[in-house]
Symmetry: C2
Subunit: 196 residues, 2 copies
């Protein structure tokens, strides 16, 4: 397909999407051009609109078009609890449980030394500022139970406790619906230690 | 993420890409907004540019920005051979072999009754017109060796032979680098029948 700069540029640009390699990008480009030109136009407009309009909430850092997101503005939420999550996707999962009525702080990342992402890159300072607003009296760390998520929770807990804040962590344990014999040993050990 | 129409629109639009579901679309949107806004702008422009500028070659039907593609205009190609492929990707694979010097006709699809795609949807009439230009004396069918590719080749061969054209098909056989014991039986049977 030499001599087709617009097609080459489209395939190049699609490769910037996470998880999309050369073959997938080519397949996507051919599909859009052959079967879904309206989809190509729609995606083009949606990308431009989102890149232009979506910023970060001044209070919780999640994606929003407004200066402060709807959830942070919701007077019905309990301002004494602040739940720290890695991403808007994690926040969405917690919201879907329907069992949390406090506010959030979205890190938009996690400490990952292998990727060169340290504490200063994931907004620890804004979190400390947010958590010391005089209303928050408990910070719930809901980062992932992965190596990076645990390292992030550890670093945040140290910094928050140094400011005199109460810090809790989501419980580790046996997932709902599990048969004990099929649960990994590390999880069983933690569930024993954290038994209630 | 209720109340964020630009984000919802972006995730919706990304889901129109083939192979992209709800989770992937969300991950792509978050990645672009958090880490690669330049990539979002680049993809937006590339999509708009491609949708606007890329059409089909009047001779071979492949994607091109010009009325006729570079390959069809290349006087160094042998106009007596016309190779029929399903897609520009297949054409690219044949070109990379460096062993074909004729011209192409790109079907941009294949007969697939299960998807409601019949002979009239894949440009049989334009192919017949193209193949009867007085220069072509051999049509090489290089559609895939799948059920759909074989059905397409069969239908095209009938129509082309009815016009008195010589029609050939890519050889079926044992792939290069294969140990016979690991090759599927259907392939071995075909390689026996087509032995030379």
């Amino acid at each position: 397909m030499s001599g087709e700069p617009a097609l080459a540029a489209l395939i190049d640009a699609l490769r910037r999407l996470p998880g999309v390699g050369a073959k997938s990008a080519q397949r996507m480009a051919y599909h859009l051009l052959q079967h879904d030109r309206a989809g190509a136009q729609q995606l083009s407009a949606a990308l431009a609109g989102a890149a232009q309009r979506i910023g970060h909430c001044a209070r919780c850092h999640t994606f929003t078009e407004a200066p402060v997101c709807d959830l942070c503005l919701d007077a019905g939420r309990d301002a004494r609890q602040l739940c720290v999550v890695e991403s808007p996707a994690d926040q969405g999962a917690l919201e879907r449980t329907g069992s949390y009525r406090g506010l959030y702080f979205v890190l938009m990342g996690r400490i990952s030394p292998l990727d060169g992402i340290g504490a200063s890159d994931i907004g620890v300072a804004p979190l400390l500022e947010r958590a010391t607003d005089g209303l928050v009296d408990e910070v719930i760390l809901a980062t992932g139970f992965t190596a990076e998520g645990e390292a992030t929770a550890h670093a945040l807990a140290q910094a928050l406790r140094a400011r005199g804040l109460k810090v809790t962590r989501l419980a580790r344990g046996v997932p709902a619906g599990s048969e004990i014999e099929y649960v990994d040993l590390g999880t069983i050990a933690h569930a024993l230690v954290d038994r209630r």
